[in-house]
């Protein structure tokens, strides 16, 4: 196939700025959504630390709990909580776009796919909390 560009005298090519994600609110929201993954990784690290401390014994576990009460860790976890909730909400809201489910030929409306996700989220969260808090 012929690429006409080769025969043109000159054309101007722009380069995208490294900070393009700061130029518009929608882009910033996108990069924050992607950045939530870093906090997801931190929560895994935190979970692994918890498992290790639990195995090591009561003294080690108490020490970890004390560390978690320090202002720095509380601030970090508050920010992480915001990001992981942001991840959950954006994830559930985008799910209907990625799934074109058809029932009797008609595409299910977005809400019909997003809503069960939110219901499951609430039910699973309640179940986890119940297991940890009962007794």
């Amino acid at each position: 196939m012929i690429n006409p560009t080769e025969y043109l005298p000159k054309s101007y090519h722009t380069r995208i700025s490294t900070y393009w994600w700061l130029t518009r609110w929608a882009y910033l929201k996108f990069i924050l959504r992607e950045a939530s993954s870093v906090f997801v990784a931190w929560i895994v690290v935190l979970t692994l630390l918890q498992i290790r401390a639990l195995t090591d014994g009561p003294a080690e576990y108490a020490e970890l709990q004390k560390w978690l009460q320090s202002p720095l860790l509380l601030a970090l976890n508050a920010v992480s909580f915001f990001f992981v909730v942001f991840h959950a909400v954006t994830w559930f809201n985008l799910a209907p776009k990625a799934m074109a489910i058809r029932v009797r030929g008609k595409r299910l409306p977005g809400l019909a796919i997003a809503a069960p996700n939110y219901v499951a989220w609430a039910a699973i969260s309640a179940a986890v909390a119940w297991i940890l808090l009962r007794g």
Binding site: I16, T18, W21, I31, E34, A35, S36, S37, V38, V40, A41, I43, V44, L46, T47, L48, Q50, I51, R52, L54, T55, G57, P58, Y61, A62, Q65, L68, Q69, L73, L74, N77, A78, S80, F81, V84, V85, H87, A88, W91, F92, N117, A120, W121, I124, S125, V128, A129, I131, L132, L133, G135
Partner: protein
């Protein structure tokens, strides 16, 4: 189908990890990172938690909770480095760091969960 491309596999892990982190992480972090340290709710004792974690179902659950979200992180972080910082030319290094990190994290989680007495 181009069998050499492993992108579908990585995307599958990314999606599964996205679902797991969305469904489970908010409640876990809220309880262990905020509610218990701040005393909003009574934290379960170390003994009780250990009893819960010892159960094989909990161990499997925790392995999933640690592993899949790491692959989710690996995928997103890789593309954030590609597009956000425009360093795609370092893709081999980035891939090793991201997916290697996820594999190592999974191995570490498996080891820790295995060595619970």
């Amino acid at each position: 189908m181009n069998k050499r491309s492993n992108e579908p596999f990585l995307w599958m892990l990314f999606s599964a990890g996205g679902v797991v982190s969305a469904m489970l992480m908010p409640v876990h972090l809220f309880l262990f990172g905020l509610a218990f340290p701040l005393g909003w709710l009574d934290a379960p004792s170390q003994e009780r938690l250990l009893a819960i974690v010892r159960h094989p179902v909990t161990r499997a659950y925790l392995l999933v909770l640690c592993s899949l979200p790491l692959f989710h992180w690996a995928h997103r972080f890789r593309f954030t480095l590609y597009d956000g910082l425009q360093i795609k030319h370092l893709n081999e290094l980035i891939n090793i760091f991201c997916y290697g990190g996820a594999v190592l994290g999974t191995a570490l989680a498996a080891y820790l969960l295995w060595s619970i007495p």
